[in-house]
């Protein structure tokens, strides 16, 4: 690539009219493929993303289409992967790095937080770092404590980063395209258990804007704020609760930083009750932030019950499957929590 080619035609939203059934993993692959075709500056780097196709097969086929230069297998060197992405982003490229499990983001924290997130501000706004770090999080696969964490709260605490957590195939595709086109470092958390979830996804290229919370289900009685894997669980729970006459509104922030809290506050003003659900460990989790946003705003005055958090247990994720399940909120837990809140609310 001597001169950089950017085709703007693919930017048209018209192609998005049709939809195809595809998995969350396929939707992510589709986003990568469409963007890489559009803009030669975009390239992928990470461990085993080439021939192997990625630990979760997300990049399968991309090596074959785009070759080893643009789908770069790296040694097992997470800090260097992050640094390489930063340096490339600073000098005209648009890297999309994959960190094989989000637990290993721990090895990139200096590069991501002390470098990528701060460079623009430290340099007086005179540089930009357009990179995406894709990485899978979450438990449920029996991979135990070092491969099952949900550490999104760390990143959501860092000015300069954007943090995205799609909960559906269509969101995954549109949000990833938005993340790639964003001129800031974006951490893009994919949930392992969602990879095989199938749903209708618009064909062609489209952008789902970052920092726009979505009402995933409208309801009158109680607000459930959920993201990532907890959204389908909350929707399933809402379905069951509807049969009991409890009308649940499910809000998915989708982007945790910068957080669009308006739809959450509006919803709470309407329902007066809220359950915040996430997989991550409760203490210090992002649920606290959401709770605080609600209770420091005027939505506070509309609350008619305490703000409830339904969150991960205060443990490393255990290996044994029964313990593992018990460590994070399940559909049943959401049903129970909502039911109890509605009954108890004065």
């Amino acid at each position: 690539m001597a001169t950089v080619q950017v085709s703007e035609t693919a930017l048209s939203a018209n192609d998005a009219a049709l939809t195809t059934e595809m998995t969350y993993a396929e939707a992510i692959r589709d986003a990568l493929k469409l963007e890489m075709r559009r803009d030669e500056r975009i390239f992928l780097l990470g461990e085993d993303i080439g021939i192997y196709g990625g630990a979760f097969a997300v990049t399968r086929g991309l090596f074959e289409e785009f070759g080893a230069e643009r789908v770069r297998d790296t040694p097992i060197s997470e800090a260097a992967i992050a640094g390489a992405a930063i340096g490339a982003a600073l000098t005209g490229m648009r890297p999309v790095a994959e960190i094989q499990f989000s637990d290993f983001m721990a090895l990139t924290m200096d590069q991501l937080v002390n470098q990528a997130a701060k460079i623009r501000y430290m340099f007086g706004g005179k540089a930009k770092v357009p990179l995406v770090m894709r990485t899978p999080l979450g438990s449920g696969t029996g991979a135990a404590a070092q491969h099952s964490q949900s550490l999104e709260a760390w990143f959501a605490h860092v000015p300069g980063l954007k943090v995205v957590m799609p909960s559906s195939p269509a969101d995954a595709k549109g949000l990833l395209i938005a993340a790639i086109r964003d001129d800031n470092p974006v951490v893009f958390f994919e949930h392992k258990l969602l990879y095989r979830v199938k749903a209708a996804v618009p064909t062609g290229s489209y952008v789902t804007p970052l920092s726009q919370s979505a009402v995933k289900r409208a309801g009158q009685d109680v607000t459930v704020v959920a993201f990532s894997i907890m959204v389908p669980r909350a929707l399933a729970a809402a379905q069951r609760l509807a049969d009991e006459g409890i009308d649940v509104e499910v809000i998915d922030p989708r982007t945790l930083r910068p957080l669009d809290d308006t739809p959450i506050l509006e919803s709470v003003k309407k329902t007066g009750k809220v359950v915040i659900v996430h997989e991550a460990v409760g203490s210090g989790g992002f649920g606290g932030e959401i709770a605080a946003r609600i209770t420091e705003s005027d939505a506070f005055h509309y609350l008619d019950a305490p703000v409830r958090r339904l969150v991960g247990a205060e443990v490393p994720i255990p290996f044994n499957p029964n313990l593992e399940r018990a460590a994070v909120p399940q559909e049943d837990d959401i049903v129970t929590a909502v039911r109890r809140l509605v009954r108890e609310g004065r």
Partner: protein, 322 residues
């Protein structure tokens, strides 16, 4: 009588260890296929000579740090097969009470500081073990296992450097099985051998045939002698190969059948068995008995595990803090 530094009398035991490792891994493979084990696993079939030779060079109170591909290390360190299998099946009787699983088997009191799900994660911990030995003026050593892929992590560099300046009794043993998941070691580094990196720390480095128990034993034994004499760490590369895929999800797209066959033709157990036979320490045919016993031990371990209870969900929060 001894051969290449190993007493003839010890050969049957070493053969048993190799068969235990292989049988254990084969059983685990089978159980995964059946869906009877949760999660993922990393098998070391084809690599048995490395832990077998290495641990035979050490004393029972020496320490090891292990990796995600750690069943062989654990067995060669003398672990109880029942407790290992119970751990893989997530049982309360397992080494980690079912909380750890394949990637976290540990037995600190017995000197196994633990498998590790983080590539390169155990290398700095080995420094601390070496430091502890040094500060407590013990005669122990710490053997740090890691892979060729791990040799590209920053921790490899920081840890070996620290051991080199503090002359700690640590042996860095790289199991170069030619791949870090799908990436060939030939592509992930621009040197012929991981042992070449010893020069960067001013310590001895040696590359040995990792399918040869005697070669591994000899190199580790020498390194342990140096370590106990206060001469600091050594970096050893043992060249070997894993027959199976990296983990459960591997489709083997990155290597050829011919390569796998070449390595299988140099199977470490076959090579070792030939020596055992040549030394005449076992009655003719007794090696097949060693093998059969080993497989039976694994079945017994499986039966033990199956008969063990699962952890109680009510105990979920137990054991986070001391």
């Amino acid at each position: 009588m001894s051969y290449l530094g190993i007493l003839d009398a010890d050969l049957p035991d070493l053969l048993k260890t190799m068969y235990h490792i292989r049988a254990f891994e084969e059983k685990v493979d089978e159980l995964f296929m059946q869906g009877a084990i949760h999660g993922t696993t990393h098998l070391s079939i084809g690599e048995e000579a490395v832990p077998t030779g290495a641990l035979h060079a050490l004393r029972s109170d020496d320490y090891i740090t292990s990796t995600h591909r750690g069943h062989g290390h654990c067995i060669a360190k003398g672990a109880d097969l029942n407790l290992m299998m119970a751990e893989l099946l997530g049982r309360e009787s397992g080494y980690c009470r079912g909380r750890g699983g394949s990637m976290h088997i540990a037995d600190v009191d017995a000197g196994n500081i633990g498998a590790n799900g983080i590539v390169g994660g155990g290398i700095p911990i080995a420094v601390g073990v070496g430091l502890s030995i040094h500060m407590q003026q013990q005669a122990r050593v710490c053997l740090c296992f890691f892979g060729d892929g791990a040799a590209n992590e920053g921790t490899f560099h920081e840890a070996i450097n620290l051991c080199s300046i503090w002359r700690l009794p640590v042996i860095f043993l790289c199991e170069n099985n030619q791949y870090g998941m799908s990436m060939s070691a030939k592509l992930s580094m621009h040197v012929a051998s991981v042992a070449d990196r010893a020069i960067a720390y001013g310590i001895p480095g040696e590359s040995v045939d990792g399918n040869d128990v005697f070669a591994v034993h000899h190199a580790v034994w020498q390194a342990a002698e140096r370590a106990r004499a206060g001469q600091g760490p050594t970096l050893i590369e043992a060249r070997t190969y894993r027959y199976k895929g990296h983990s459960k999800s591997d489709q083997n797209r990155y290597r050829t059948r011919a390569e796998i066959d070449d390595w299988r033709a140099r199977d470490p157990i076959v090579i070792f068995t030939e020596v055992v036979r040549a030394r005449g320490v076992l009655a003719p045919g007794a090696d097949t008995q060693v093998r059969a016993n080993a497989y039976a031990d694994i079945e017994a371990a499986y039966a033990f595990a199956l008969a063990s209870p699962e952890p109680q969900v009510a105990d979920l929060l137990e054991g986070v803090y001391a």
